[in-house]
């Protein structure tokens, strides 16, 4: 049961298989069949418009609920703007809040969705559906985008994981194989901690082998996912330790750090770009602090300029490296914030209308999809549910949206819970 962790080539047999698969994909543009991978093959995707151009995804998730009015959906009415001004951008249809001047320059790359709505007014539930496409329930845990994409598209990386979540210290793959769990990087500037071995390699290998022998009985005694997942994590950690790819996580030598902003969001975006460059399929950058029930103007000054700088730097960097065409950049949040300013000068939760943004990876730039009403209170046209937003992401990535996956308890699920991709966003 315990697998031999490392063979002489520094790669497990499983990884060799993955390597062959990824080589095949690179050279032939095909996914190897299921018999080879031991899982159901992805159904051939109908050649829908713009599908599959995004080979990677950077999903920036702003936890707490980003005020749509102060960012991507500003209004002319002073009543609801509470101090933020509306500014024009390089792409006429797109207007932004006045704290996003840098991003205004990049508007031609962006498709802004101003007609998001959700039925979840609580943070946890709202975030859950924005990241999984499903409502949070008590009997099952749904996977996020990274593990689900890997399940459907197959593993791509040799050493590096296919998905990474930055700004979060734990992660899971929901009901999918724990081996698909995104690698959590709590602090982007800290990279992957504890990668220096305590002893020389030989002795480390000896220790590891003994640990495996001693752990075997316990692993076999209890048929639980938990202990088994640890075996998988030891495997992944060992692979990572032996590879040079680990450097991708180390931002210290990176010359462009300052441009992204020396904060978690900025450095998270920089790390995401480095990982995408190394072939990681999905990087989620999770950043909190957007729950502004009090003194919203002060709080916006703390957060929005960071977002402005980080996103702008990310766009510039991806463009310069020629990665924007194949990298989908998505910005999500659990809900917007109330048009009324509350007695504490703050804005409360507002799931009835909010904004998200997509760019790169086959997305048509310089457009606004959907709209909220004059006050930003309700959706006025082309409503978009969280499921549709994720379906759009999946569509860009070439994920077969209609393919059913069964959980171990035999419950059927699809990538975005049958959400409909917004085809109008694709070039």
């Amino acid at each position: 049961m315990i697998h031999q962790l490392i063979d002489l080539a520094g790669r497990s047999s499983l990884n060799r298989r993955r390597f062959m698969e990824s080589t095949a994909k690179m050279t032939l543009g095909v996914t190897l069949g299921s018999t080879f991978l031991g899982r159901t093959p992805a159904k051939a995707q109908a050649a829908a418009a713009g599908a599959g151009k995004a080979t990677s995804l950077i999903y920036i998730y702003l936890g707490g609920g980003m005020s749509h009015l102060d960012t991507f959906d500003p209004k002319t009415s002073k009543d609801v703007m509470g101090g933020t001004e509306l500014i024009s951008t390089k792409a006429d249809p797109i207007k932004l809040g006045s704290l996003l001047p840098k991003l205004a320059e990049h508007a031609p790359k962006m498709a802004v969705i101003n007609s998001m709505f959700s039925t979840n007014g609580a943070h946890e539930q709202g975030e859950y559906i924005m990241r999984t496409g499903y409502n949070k329930i008590s009997t099952i845990v749904h996977p996020t985008v990274g593990p689900f994409a890997q399940e459907l598209l197959g593993r791509r990386g040799k050493i590096l994981p296919d998905s990474v979540v930055v700004g979060q210290s734990t992660s899971n793959a929901g009901y999918l194989d724990p081996a698909l769990s995104p690698l959590p990087i709590a602090d982007p500037s800290g990279g992957v901690p504890n990668t220096m071995l305590l002893t020389e390699q030989d002795r480390f290998d000896r220790r590891m082998e003994i640990a495996n022998r001693l752990g075997k009985q316990f692993i076999e005694k209890y048929k639980y996912n938990g202990p088994k997942s640890y075996v998988e994590y030891y495997d992944q950690a060992n692979n990572l330790l032996k590879s040079t790819e680990l450097e991708a996580f180390d931002l210290t030598g990176e010359s462009g750090r300052e441009a992204f902003g020396m904060n978690r969001l900025g450095q998270g975006c920089l790390l995401a770009r480095r990982l995408v460059e190394k072939g990681v399929r999905v990087v989620e950058v999770v950043s909190g602090g957007w729950d502004m029930h009090e003194n919203v103007q002060t709080r916006l000054q703390e957060r929005v300029p960071e977002l402005d700088q980080a996103l702008s730097a990310l766009f510039e960097d991806l463009e310069q490296r020629g990665l924007l065409a194949t990298t989908l950049v998505a910005l999500g949040t659990e809900f917007g914030r109330t048009p009324d300013i509350n007695p504490n000068s703050g804005r409360d939760h507002h799931p009835a209308a909010y904004s998200t943004m997509l760019a790169g990876g086959g997305i048509k730039g310089g457009i606004v999809y959907g709209a909220s009403d004059k006050q930003g209170k309700k959706v006025a046209e082309n409503p978009v549910k969280p499921e549709d937003f994720l379906a759009t992401i999946g569509h860009a990535m070439g994920v077969p949206l209609d393919q059913t996956i069964y959980s171990p308890s035999r419950r059927p699920f699809t990538f975005a819970n049958d959400g409909k991709p917004i085809e109008a966003l694709f070039a």
Partner: protein, 685 residues
């Protein structure tokens, strides 16, 4: 139907309590071999008072009893006699067993062997693994009652409060500072939690104090409960429902509940119990004749705040300097964050909410009977309603949560959101009803309640070998296999490096900050308040919460200790990317967020991290600790006892001895490393 059943059960319990069968009382043995069946009453001087089955009281000198019984009397003096405890435990076992048999199980899982028992109770009760000495002491003890004695001993141990604190810190989202406390430092409130648990304050009392607190966090640290969510009252109410009623009503905040009968009106009516509660400083603003807005200090005479500013200016505070001005503002804001109930205050539903936006609701209970106002404040009426024995949710929620702590799975799930139907359809529905009533019988004494559970045969069974599916019914043939909480892993690793001194080592103590915010505006002069401000100003930041009250009234902060502390004594919660965070400690953003998943960074921390380095490096405590052992076989046994609290199997022993033969003490280090890095270390079997 359910009510009737509950009544019958209650009656049965009361009957059982009055007609205590003879056999339930403990047998006390004198040094000359005479035996006596009696219930412990108390200790008077050096005499132990016992009550016989016929009601007669006897007084026995301590030294006339055998040591085991004299020791039992000491425990009982704190915990009370255990005859009810054991009877209750047996009742639970009987109820569980009946249902198990009905569902095709022979009985419980096999009984837990001593070694697994000792590790489990240490982790479950005091939140860390036992030391090798503690393990050995238990293994060597020939006493037949050694399990119940150890359970009692641990229930009196200071680690119990520490471990239970970690649970409540997650449930009640305790954070020292940060975005969601409106900048208020919460150390006094956190300290109040720790003190309450150390004193074993009853849970209904803890809740009552939190729900009804008035004043600021210095006057009344329990005010932290409501101040934590000031500015997000309705979200706070969603949390309140999950934590205290086991109902997640958060969706009814924006729309009627999709599955239950709750409407938005229900939600806002229930939330209206807090509708007259003033939490922030901002509403204390008054307009003067010129139309200028002035803030007033709650509880202080009119104009106090302005006078204090003038006084501070006289003392040299330069308000033109933004930093100094901000510093002063922080202190006065802290002082001002205050809970009060104001009858004229109304809290309308936010305009943005569909259908009910702008409306003002009268308080109404979501479930059960209406709350009785009776001239009390709305919050007092709410506290009465919550803790009333007839409240249909309060007792079952906390009983089920405590059950989950012992068994790894609730009798009804998830613990923060279950319906009445879920209760009716619970796999062990009678047990659920029984423990709910037991929670009331013990008057919400959580220590006594846990004492009952730990004494059950069900708890003292081997963990179920196959993971039960979350969607399937589980009948509690034993606990499920559980991974340690982040805090258990941290405390265990810290124990290995530092020894059991960590159990009494104090880190953060909120009493210093509490003193600075406890201002009596009637009695204290401006000079006295200014002295508090100065102490605040010079100790702001991280050191604030580290202050230890060295002597009464002393305003000097204590020394910061950053290492060698148990998780409960550290900043709440631990920093991102710290070991605690890596192992899943909740960020305290929403309730019950502890994460038990594994990850690559976790295993890297165990492979290459600082703790492993100190345990298996050149100055390895593991090695020095075993120096007194002669033979390599004893050393190998010692490593297993230290890390896994068990003896090695034959195969493991010979593997360990081979390693010592080949590599000497380095073999011990390698073995220690291997055991920390085998998944067994992180699990509670």
């Amino acid at each position: 139907m359910n009510r009737i059943r509950q009544c019958i059960l209650t009656v049965a319990i009361i009957l059982a309590a009055t007609l205590l069968p003879r056999g339930e009382a403990r047998e006390w043995t004198s040094t000359d071999g005479r035996k006596l069946q009696a219930v412990f009453v108390g200790i008077q001087g050096d005499k132990i008072e016992l009550k016989l089955a016929n009601g007669q009281s006897v007084s026995v000198p301590k030294d006339r009893l055998i040591p085991a019984d004299a020791e039992a009397a000491e425990r009982f003096a704190v915990l009370g006699d255990d005859s009810f405890t054991k009877m209750s435990a047996r009742n639970i076992d009987n109820l569980l067993a009946q249902t198990l048999v009905k569902n095709g199980f022979k009985s419980f899982n096999d009984p837990l062997p001593d070694d697994l028992f000792v590790r489990r109770v240490y982790l479950d009760i005091i939140g860390r693994i036992p030391t090798r000495e503690e393990f050995q002491k238990f293994a060597d003890s020939p006493r037949p009652d050694k399990r119940e004695a150890l359970i009692d001993e641990l229930l009196i141990h200071p680690g119990r409060a520490s471990h239970l604190f970690n649970y409540f810190a997650d449930m009640y989202r305790l954070t020292a500072a940060g975005d969601f406390n409106n900048g208020i430092r919460m150390e006094p409130y956190i300290q109040w939690w720790k003190d309450s648990l150390t004193q074993n304050k009853t849970y209904d009392q803890i809740v009552r104090e939190m729900v009804t607190a008035t004043g600021n966090i210095g006057h009344n640290p329990a005010a932290g409960f409501l101040l934590r969510d000031a500015g997000m009252e309705f979200d706070a109410f969603s949390n309140f429902g999950q934590v205290l009623l086991g109902i997640d009503v958060s969706c009814a905040q924006c729309h009627d509940h999709p599955f239950e009968e709750w409407t938005m009106e229900d939600f806002y009516s229930m939330a209206a119990f807090f509708g007259q509660t003033q939490r922030t400083l901002s509403s204390y603003k008054t307009e003067d004749a010129m139309g200028m807005v002035k803030a007033e200090m709650p509880g202080a005479p009119a104009g106090w705040l302005e006078q204090f500013r003038t006084f501070a200016r006289g003392k040299g505070i330069n308000f033109d300097d933004p930093a100094a001005s901000r510093q002063f503002g922080w202190y006065t804001t802290f002082l001002g964050w205050n809970l009060a109930d104001i009858e004229t205050r109304i809290t309308p539903v936010p305009e943005s909410v569909y259908d009910v936006g702008g409306k003002v609701f009268d308080p109404g209970t979501l479930i059960g009977k209406p709350a009785k106002a009776g001239g009390k404040s709305r919050r007092e009426a709410l506290a009465d309603w919550l803790t009333d024995p007839e409240n249909p949710r309060f007792a079952v929620v906390i009983a089920n949560r405590m059950w989950t702590r012992a068994f790894g799975r609730g009798l009804v799930n998830p613990v923060h959101d279950f319906s009445d139907d879920d209760i009716k359809n619970a796999s062990q529905m009678q047990t659920l009803a029984f423990v709910t009533n037991e929670m009331k019988r013990v008057n919400y004494d959580l220590r006594e309640f846990m004492r009952i559970l730990y004494n059950t045969r069900a708890y003292q069974s081997i963990s179920t070998a196959e993971e039960p599916d979350a969607a399937d019914k589980y009948f509690f043939q034993g606990p499920v296999l559980r991974r340690m909480r982040a805090e258990q892993a941290w405390d265990s690793l810290t124990l290995l490096g530092e020894g059991p001194e960590i159990d009494t080592r104090k880190g953060r103590d909120g009493s210093f900050l509490r003193e600075l915010l406890k201002v009596d505006f009637e009695k204290e002069t401006m000079d006295m308040v200014f002295a508090k401000y100065e102490a605040f100003s010079s100790n702001r930041g991280e050191t604030m919460g580290l202050a230890v009250a060295t002597e009464p009234g002393s305003l000097s902060p204590g020394q910061a200790i950053n290492e060698g502390l148990r998780a409960s004594e550290m900043v709440q919660p631990a920093a991102a990317a710290s070991l605690l965070d890596t192992f899943g400690q909740s960020d305290r953003f929403v309730t019950d967020q502890h994460n038990f998943d594994g990850s690559v960074p976790q295993v890297l921390a165990l492979m290459n991290g600082g703790v492993t380095s100190s345990l298996t490096g050149s100055a390895s405590k593991l090695v020095t600790d075993l120096e007194k052992f002669d033979g390599p076989d004893d050393k190998v046994r010692g490593v297993f006892a230290t890390l896994l609290s068990r003896f090695p199997t034959e195969e493991e022993l010979s593997l360990g001895m081979k390693m010592m033969e080949d590599y000497g003490d380095d073999g011990i280090r390698d073995l220690g490393w291997a055991l920390i890095n085998s998944p067994e270390f992180l699990y509670i079997q």
